[in-house]
């Protein structure tokens, strides 16, 4: 995976698999500290300490149920190559918070890539989940919450052509406001 936005899509899939009701995805770029923070926070079934340690390490898995994949170790390695780290905080029955940090200017830091597509696809293809997306670049913020939109649409599917067009415009416009800062 060559884009952080693809990793976010991948991590969010873990939250979906953990039967989350709400998934919050946050991206924060702090140019003064030269850090990039990404987090995915859910209220899914959570993991105990052992399992949380396992999903981070690709070599410890016993793989009887194949619950453990490569997505998280790959992202962890990518962050560590950029003076960063990856942490998982999880409580069974409460949820999971995955945080990952990078040195923003590091030469090996993957580009964020197509964040708009990642968010659009998650929102449309998982109508049962409440998505919150927060993207901050220094003091500017784009905040997106799909709850009011779903309430307004009621029984109209999110994959209706008009709704796709609406969501696409809304998310792309929100992210575009950052483009100069991210160049």
């Amino acid at each position: 995976m060559r884009e952080l936005s693809l990793h976010l899509l991948d991590i969010a899939e873990n939250s979906i698999a953990a039967q989350a009701i709400t998934v919050e995805i946050a991206i924060r770029e702090d140019n003064r500290k030269d850090r990039l923070y990404l987090s995915v926070c859910d209220d899914g079934k959570g993991m105990d300490y052992e399992m949380a340690a396992q999903v981070i390490d690709p070599f410890v898995t016993t793989r009887t149920t194949r619950k453990v994949g490569l997505g998280i170790p790959l992202l962890k390695a990518a962050s560590e190559a950029c003076n960063g780290f990856l942490e998982i905080h999880s409580t069974p029955g409460i949820g999971t918070r995955l945080e990952v940090e990078f040195q923003n200017s590091h030469i090996d830091r993957m580009p964020l890539g197509d964040i708009a597509s990642t968010i659009l696809h998650l929102v449309i293809a998982n109508p049962q989940i409440h998505f919150i997306f927060r993207h901050q670049v220094d003091e500017n913020e784009f905040f997106f919450d799909d709850e009011p939109i779903k309430r307004e649409l009621a029984d109209i599917p999110l994959s209706d052509p008009l709704v796709i067009s609406y969501l696409r415009d809304e998310i792309e416009a929100g992210i575009e406001t950052f483009q100069p800062a991210m160049a």
Binding site: E13, I16, H121, I164, D169, E170
Partner: protein, 122 residues
Amino acid sequence: MPVIKTLDDLKKIREEALEKRKVKTASGQIEVIVGMGTCGIAAGARDTMKAILETIQNDNLSGIIVKQTGCVGLCEKEPIVQIVIGEQPKITYGKVTGDIARQILKEHVVDGKVVQTHLITL
């Protein structure tokens, strides 16, 4: 600077969509399911999903539910797309690039003709 739309726009969208639904005779619900596990994403499932949503939007295909699923255990055949039309059995396609996804939507979902070249028989 693009204009951020408001919730009022959504009201209009809802009315339009409801109107369209009245006209359309339902051949049962159509579901398009894209595999979005790590394997799917690494194989390019986001491009596949992108092509599907763009085709729905550009060709104005209403009545399709798009869903994502995790790894279905056929990682080597990713990106995988599954189509369920009404009561018919689920059809699974493998190695679905953006172009193939567009072909599947046009030939299978719209015209009802299964795309044999990328069919996976389970």
